[in-house]
């Protein structure tokens, strides 16, 4: 077989599906975003109208704000929790394997299950959480029926699910730290607290970087758990960007605007990721 033959042989099986199911839709999505279209009647060219309309529409600002709030609540929770767990499980504890398995089980469970189970746990009238809060005499929030609590409810469920993921990444990072550096710090008289701040944390920065980048990319695309737990409600209080894209397309028949919004979201994610990659030089240390 000729050289070109081999190239085609090895690359075509992945290139053709990627072309048909990613590249073509990508290009046509751009095309759709320049039209007004309800998925049925013929497309009508509107140029950049969808974009300008979205950018001046308060709903867009709102759904982006909710998405940012989601990230701002979710990221510190999973990061602090995952790091704490990783530090604890890096010690020689009895039953370490069991704990690792227990913390990781939610990671392999699908979002829809997690969302449903938490919706039930946070059921305002007969859920476990409010029953316990009631028994303690604490206030019982309406969770997903209350606009103030809908987003926190989603954040809680999400953090619970992803804790194990962050823990595993951090554990891998911890185990990659050379023991002699910590030993050297110890002989130089550094206490446990100092060793953590001055040695462990800086040397964990590649893992931290990975977790932050991935969490923000996923956080901006949050959808499943919101759709199942609150469907964006009550009164749009927990509507996020992807939920809005879905509703625009399949509820309001505004596919052009939905496509434009998905490109705006993509641009935002790209910029945030690029900023983080550029900024990493300042704080990420590779051992």
């Amino acid at each position: 077989m000729k050289k070109l033959g081999w190239v085609l042989f090895f690359l075509a099986p992945s290139a053709i599906p990627l072309l048909i199911f990613t590249v073509v839709p990508m290009v046509s999505s751009l095309w759709v975003s320049l039209h007004r279209w309800n998925l049925i009647s013929p497309m009508k060219w509107v140029g950049l109208d969808n974009y300008t309309h979205l950018l001046s529409d308060p709903t867009t600002r709102e759904v982006f704000l909710h998405t940012v709030i989601y990230c701002a609540g979710y990221l510190p929770l999973v990061f602090a929790g995952g790091l704490g767990l990783a530090l604890a499980l890096n010690q020689r504890l009895p039953g370490r394997a069991f704990f690792r398995a227990a913390y990781f089980l939610p990671v392999v469970t699908s979002w829809v299950v997690v969302a449903l189970v938490w919706k039930w746990l946070l059921n305002p009238t007969s859920g476990l959480v409010n029953s316990l809060l009631g028994a303690l005499g604490a206030p019982q929030p309406g969770w997903w029926t209350d606009p103030t609590w809908a987003l926190p409810a989603v954040i809680l469920a999400s953090a619970w699910k992803d804790l194990g993921f962050v823990m595993v990444i951090m554990l891998a990072g911890l185990q990659a730290i050379p023991q002699d550096i910590l030993e050297a710090a110890r002989t130089d008289g550094a206490g446990a607290w100092q060793r953590f701040w001055r040695v462990t944390l800086p040397l964990l920065s590649p893992s931290t970087f990975f977790v932050v980048v991935i969490s923000l990319i996923n956080g901006f695309q949050v959808f499943d758990q919101v759709y199942v737990m609150t469907a964006g409600g009550p009164q749009g209080a927990s509507q996020v960007v992807v939920g809005q894209i879905y509703d625009l397309t399949f509820r309001y028949g505004r596919a052009g605007e939905a496509s434009a919004l998905s490109w705006i979201l993509f641009a935002v994610i790209l910029v945030i990721t690029a900023l983080q990659v550029r900024g990493q030089r300042r704080w990420v240390h590779y051992a």
Partner: protein, 260 residues
């Protein structure tokens, strides 16, 4: 101590799910309890009457297995192509692969939906499987692994008269098994958990996957939490079994992507 309390906190929701599913009518008026008085499987019967759950579970399993297999085959081949074949424009082609990696599913949903509609594939297995036949993420990860296989090995094999196909199947593939396992974990979990795409493209219960089936269930039984929780138990069980069997590989696979 704190770790143990935390682990309990992680498992309580699962426990609560099981308890609710066997409580008569899901009635927990007497407050939460660990001991169900008249445990019943009625909710499971209702569940099986409402949706073809066995078929839905099998759908989920085989679609996840098929997309995993496809991604391993297409991904490892492309990885070999990029790592071992010299051709013009390789850098550009590889960047194009990487670019597809960055496109979120949401950007693709509308046109993919239209594509499936024009091809008359909506509400079929094909439409569920097609977008996950190849993944740029897999190609990227596997290429790194192939690059780390010493070239001396394939040069020696070439001298012995082996062609690309022989080198690929007998030398490279066995040596990149850990990376293949990692890709398999991500492919399987990705397909098993995917929700947005099935939600868009599937209407009939017989083609649903578990996440979609469950979400539909919630719509049908708005207040019958016992049925909804029975569905949750039903759909957690298969993945929990897979997880317990392959736990080491899954955790190692995920940890593997975070280092580097």
């Amino acid at each position: 101590m704190l770790v143990a309390a935390g682990a309990f906190l992680m498992l309580v929701p699962f426990l609560w799910t099981v308890i609710t599913s066997i409580t008569p009518n899901g009635s927990l008026a007497g407050g939460p309890t660990l001991f169900v008085h008249n445990p019943t499987l009625a909710a499971y019967r209702q569940l099986l009457d409402a949706l073809p759950m066995w078929r839905i579970a099998v759908n989920s399993l085989w679609i996840a297995a098929a997309s995993t297999l496809f991604q391993l085959v297409t991904g490892s081949m492309a990885a070999y192509g990029f790592a071992r074949l010299a051709f013009r424009g390789k850098g550009i082609v590889f960047s194009l692969y990487l670019a597809t990696l960055m496109v979120p599913m949401q950007v693709l949903v509308v046109p993919l939906f239209i594509e499936m509609k024009t091809l008359n594939l909506q509400d079929t297995y094909m439409s569920l499987l097609a977008p996950s036949i190849a993944s740029a993420f897999g190609v990227f990860l596997l290429r790194q692994a192939v690059e780390s296989v010493p070239r001396d090995l394939d040069e020696a094999a070439t001298i012995d008269g082996a062609g690309h196909l022989r080198i690929f199947t007998t030398i490279v593939l066995p040596l990149i098994r850990p990376a293949l396992a990692t890709v398999a974990v991500f492919a399987f979990m990705g397909s098993w958990n995917s929700f947005l795409w099935p939600l868009v493209v599937i209407r009939s219960p017989e083609f649903m996957t578990l996440p979609l089936g469950l979400a539909t269930l919630q719509g049908q039984f708005t207040t019958d939490w016992d049925v909804v929780m029975a569905g949750s138990v039903f759909s957690v069980l298969p993945i929990a079994i897979v997880y317990l069997l392959a736990q080491r590989h899954i955790i190692a696979g995920i940890a593997h992507t975070g280092i580097k």
